[in-house]
Amino acid sequence: MSAELAINAPQVIARKPARKATSESGLVRFVLIGLALSYFALLVLTPLFAVFYEALKKGAEAYFTAITEPDALSSIRLTLMVAAVAVPLNLVFGVAAAWAIAKFEFRGKSLLITLIDLPFSVSPVISGLIYVLVFGLQGWLGPWLQAHDIKVIFALPGIFLATVFVTVPFVARELIPLMQAQGSEEEEAALVLGASGWQTFFRVTLPNIKWGIVYGVILCNARAMGEFGAVAVVSGHIRGLTNTMPLHVEILYNEYQFSAAFAVASLLALLALVTLVIKTLVEWRVKH
């Protein structure tokens, strides 16, 4: 330690005057950091704290009862199912779209990228509404679906579709810039050496983009499991049948079962925290 300090000491002294001119005074730094952290704590940390505090206020037993009662369990099951449908679909879409956009030059590319990002700009409520307009009783396919006894709206397919819609951009928007930055030289080399298209993809491209995929998938998953507005419109809130976890939270909350609502909410908050941990680890891995 002391040897290290001794080596670093002259450098620090030599750099000090230069740093002063391109950095703020100690007081300004202190004030800015204090202000930023206070704002952050007030805005972000308090809600996070409140979720767990309210969830556990009535004790561990009430907490576990709330998350293991049948309606809660069925909402957890449905939420996992929703993610199991939406994430793989948007993963395949994201890889295909990124392959087309990053590896080839064609007209209308920026328009296509804008279209892929479109669901981000649409209000979640509208994302649900448009599926009601297509599949609802008064919708385009409504009469046909009713004649064939197929339920989409107020049933599981509607929930899947609305969730797929809101999570369309997640994987694609991570992979497009990544693959654009990587270029196509490695794939071209593999092809020249006699690899087939699929071999090139699985052995060259996929290993190169695996962290981008992890990143996109966890964000896509978090949104798929947590989506509220779009799912609220198409779900019909049928307990034990079409209630996802966020919808279950809403119902419990509106019935003044606050502790139970926060208990289920705490599971979603944990999901968010796990998502952020994985995201940070991936970012750290990519940087180092």
């Binding site: 704002y39 805005l43 879409f93 087309a100 892929i116 479109l118 209000s123 448009i130 307009l133 993809f201």
Partner: protein, 283 residues
């Protein structure tokens, strides 16, 4: 494989799979995104112009537009100021817990909106963590437009931080050193050298936060109290109309929101184009 094929709109490439990847992308986007979205416009077309206009200019709807756009604008402005501050502090200074703060900036993005909604309501209610300090001051947050603002500030936080942060990271030390050598004070360097560099990113972040706030639903409805004419946001108007089976009315309001969204996208694309141009000029 499509290696042999040449598409008129595509430059030649030795890589295979363009037809498959592009075909899948277009079919998927068409079925999942474009076709359902077009339903909104087709449904609205069943209304006459007068019906459409009456629906979207009804007093209750107008009040919700005012609230949604007003609160979203204000939230985006506040997020721009504090987002810049947070991004600056995270890039330039060292302090304990910096990594954790950096990671948690994305929490509003990762936390399901319904969870954020009930948590914010609990905190700001009269006996809540923050509400109990505001109540003696006569400030009521829950079930007021102020509550809407608080929720929109929360969900908009990551946008400005995450668009500005990489740009601050990329500012080369030489530029600031040159300014300092030429006699600029630290404030002058910030105002005339650093700020113009990050301005496009700042405006992009502002627009992203604004756009997100306008459509936000889950985090707002719990804290807003949803009183007609007072604390009712546009997405809630759409839901209310849907619950009354007024599909055409709900869609008319939705189409106005969609058109606003398209405008936001246009602005964001223009800002990014401006930012790219600015960077190439710098090189």
């Amino acid at each position: 494989m499509s290696r042999g094929k040449t598409y008129r709109f595509k430059q030649h490439s030795v890589l295979p799979g363009f037809g498959l990847a592009m075909g899948f992308t277009l079919v998927y986007l068409g079925l999942i995104v474009l076709l359902p979205l077009s339903a909104a416009f087709v449904k609205t077309a069943t209304l006459s112009w007068a019906q459409f206009w009456d629906t979207v200019t009804a007093p209750r709807v107008l009040a919700s537009f005012r609230l949604s756009f007003g609160a979203s604008l204000l939230a985006a402005v506040i997020n721009t100021v504090f987002g810049l501050l947070l991004a600056w502090v995270l890039v330039r200074y060292r302090f304990p817990g910096k990594r954790i703060v950096d990671a948690l900036v994305d929490l509003p993005f990762a936390l399901p909106t319904a969870v954020a909604g009930i948590a914010l309501t609990a905190i700001y209610s009269g006996n809540g963590l923050i509400g109990q300090w505001l109540q003696p001051l006569g400030i009521k947050v829950v079930f007021t437009p102020l509550g809407v603002l608080v929720a929109l500030i929360f969900i908009g936080l990551p946008f400005v931080v995450r668009t500005v942060q990489p740009v601050i990271e990329d500012i080369e030390a030489e530029i600031e050193e040159a300014a300092a050598t030429l006699g600029a004070s630290r404030w002058q360097t910030f105002a005339r050298v650093i700020f113009p560099t990050i301005l496009p990113a700042l405006l992009t972040g502002f627009t992203l936060a604004f756009a997100r706030a306008v459509g936000e639903y889950g985090s707002v409805i719990f804290i807003a109290g949803n009183m007609p004419m007072v604390s009712e946001i546009v997405p809630l108007i759409i839901i209310t109309k849907l619950e009354q089976y007024d599909y055409a009315g709900a869609t008319a309001v939705a189409v106005v929101m969609l058109l606003v969204s398209f405008l936001f996208i246009l602005v964001i694309n223009l800002l990014q184009w401006w930012s790219r141009k600015r960077y190439t000029n710098l090189d």
